[in-house]
């Protein structure tokens, strides 16, 4: 099989204005415009989104699982780094 596959895209969807785009999955498409159309058809059938981002998967650089220790261990048991001591007024809304 020498079938040429379309490149892979990662899809991010925002469910509400002002909310972050969240990764929802990936799909194949020949270019960005069609990736948006495909994302609309594959991931927003139940009104999940108001905005779609697509990013070529090959453009994403991922951290290596073998470096998990050095990268993340130093942050362990440092509760004071969590900003849980502030009261956020309700009018601020989604943050």
């Amino acid at each position: 099989m020498s079938k040429k596959e379309w490149p892979l895209w990662e899809v991010f969807i925002s469910g509400q204005h002002g909310l972050n785009h969240r990764h929802v999955g990936s799909l194949h498409a020949p270019d960005a415009e069609m990736a948006i159309n495909h994302a609309r058809d594959v991931y927003t059938r139940r009104k999940e989104g108001v905005s779609i981002w697509v990013v070529p998967s090959k453009e994403i650089t991922a951290s290596s699982p073998s470096e998990k220790g050095p990268l993340f261990d130093p942050a362990e048991s440092k509760t004071y780094r969590h900003p849980t001591f502030f009261d956020i007024p309700e009018e601020v809304g989604k943050m």
Binding site: W6, L27, H28, P30, M34, N37, D41, V42
Partner: protein, 272 residues
């Protein structure tokens, strides 16, 4: 949920109980519903067979949208007829010669080129018609259904136009297939714009436009996309296949109905 709200809060519509207009209005609603039903069924034939997963899902979405439109049009047709037939009965228990869809939508799905080209040629018409109905129809019920369907058909048209350009102006192979599809389907497009006495009755009531009145806009918008796709409509010298709107169909419709209606025919009233 929103469907139920719409149904219970349906606007008052004097045409629904207009005895003089009933035969024409009922038939016209069947034409609207049957176009959506038969094209929806043809499109659904791709489910699980699409060339790539993403197209498979997109086609299944389109098919579902069209079946949704069918429920609304044939549901209203049943109300107008007032003989106890609902959308399901009209869809599953009428024979081929009672179907009122244009021949274009019943032709076999062919390859992706035929599927995409047919959707494009029909969507361009469908979009114009629904826009007119949503804005201008004297029948509030018709305008309401059209406005709902138009949202989905706008996307169908956008998607199909995009694919026609991509494939028409694509590789030599995709261009050849798209041109073949256009040559095959073009002689079936004229039927969408040929009115009869029934169309005139519904147009005179201000419910729908005369089919002829949509033709110039359709030709202009279709030509624009075909030019961009480097495709050329064949010369037909004014000849067009027709008859579907009056119930004279190709042999293909019987096969569709055999598959679609089998369950209700074999097990009347079956549901799940």
């Amino acid at each position: 949920m929103s469907d139920q709200i719409a149904a219970s809060g349906a606007p008052q519509d004097p045409f629904v109980s207009d005895a003089a207009l009933k035969p024409a209005f009922f038939e016209w609603l069947c034409r609207m519903g049957d176009n959506a039903l038969v094209l929806g069924h043809r499109t659904s034939e791709w489910c699980g067979h699409g060339p790539v997963l993403e197209e498979d899902i997109a086609l299944a979405n389109t098919a579902l949208d069209l079946i949704g439109h069918t429920q609304m049009w044939l549901g209203l047709a049943g109300e107008v007829e007032d003989e106890g037939r609902d959308a399901d009965k009209l869809a599953y228990l009428r024979d081929a010669f009672k179907f009122r869809n244009v021949l274009l939508v019943e032709l076999p799905k062919g390859d992706m080129a035929v599927t995409v080209m047919r959707e494009f040629l029909f969507d361009a018409y469908h979009h114009l018609l629904l826009s007119w109905l949503a804005e201008n129809s004297n029948s509030p019920r018709v305008a309401e259904i059209a406005a709902k369907a138009l949202k989905e058909v706008s996307y169908h048209l956008e998607r199909a136009s995009d694919l026609v350009v991509r494939l028409g102006d694509g590789t030599p192979e995709s261009h050849r297939r798209m041109q073949d599809a256009l040559d095959l389907l073009w002689p079936y497009t004229g039927e969408m714009f040929e009115g009869d006495a029934l169309d005139t009755a519904v147009a005179e009531a201000g419910i729908a436009p005369q089919p002829e009145d949509l033709k110039a806009d359709w030709e202009a918008s279709v030509q624009e996309i075909l030019d961009e796709a480097t495709l050329k409509a064949p010369e037909t010298a004014g000849f067009f296949h027709k008859g579907g709107k009056q119930g004279r169909h190709t042999e293909h419709l019987g096969y569709i109905l055999a598959e679609m209606q089998f369950l209700q025919r074999a097990y009347p009233g079956a549901s799940w």
